[in-house]
Amino acid sequence: MIWLKENWEWLLGAISTLGLSVLFARAKQAKANKKLEELEEKEDEVIETAGNIKADGIEKAGKKHSESVKKAHEDAGKKMNDAKKEKEDREKELLDNPDDIDDELSQFGITEKK
């Protein structure tokens, strides 16, 4: 106790240094924890963005697909109408040129009896 009374500066110095060290360590720990929290938030954002990228891509693919199918049906419908018109024209053409009918029949292997 006597020694303590005479050398209290030592003890104070030691306690102060220890206290400062602890404070410094705590501050560093808090800074690291904050950084880790920030990284966790960033991770959540990345996962969300990745999900959005996937959803957007699938949505675009779906739209593209439905447009392609629609276009294919439209093209087929147009071609079918053209073919029907062509059929009517061909019929008229054959009636206008009966010799063509003979040629067509010969292509089926049906020959004219002489």
């Binding site: 050398n7 220890l18 950084k35 276009k71 062509e86 019929e91 009918i101």
Partner: protein
Amino acid sequence: MILFYLLSSALAEPQFEKLKAGEQASFDGRLLNDEAIATMISQCEFDVSECEIKNDLECSIKIADKQYELDVLQAKYDSLDYKHTNLMEIKEEELKVLRAQSKPQRAMWAFFGGFAIGTGASVATVYALNKTME
């Protein structure tokens, strides 16, 4: 041979004869007017076109289906690529922080230990000197 002969004689060659109204046909069969034949021929050609159109449509739909599958896979790949690249960066950073945090902790303990031992030694020395002086 006999059977072949009988069959070939039974099946007559397909042929046609041009007739005017009132004329007599030289063989049995069906008499069609030009309109009927023209319809048959044009229908036959139309059937070929129709088949091609349907085939093209089927092909186009199949291609569109495959393209859709490809686009979906591309979207999934892009998403995973983005996720992987960014998560790797974040994890690298996290590792840096954790490593930096774990290393000085050991050094800090060494510092505290050293500080405590040093303080103890100093106090003991001063105490011993005081005792000796007395």
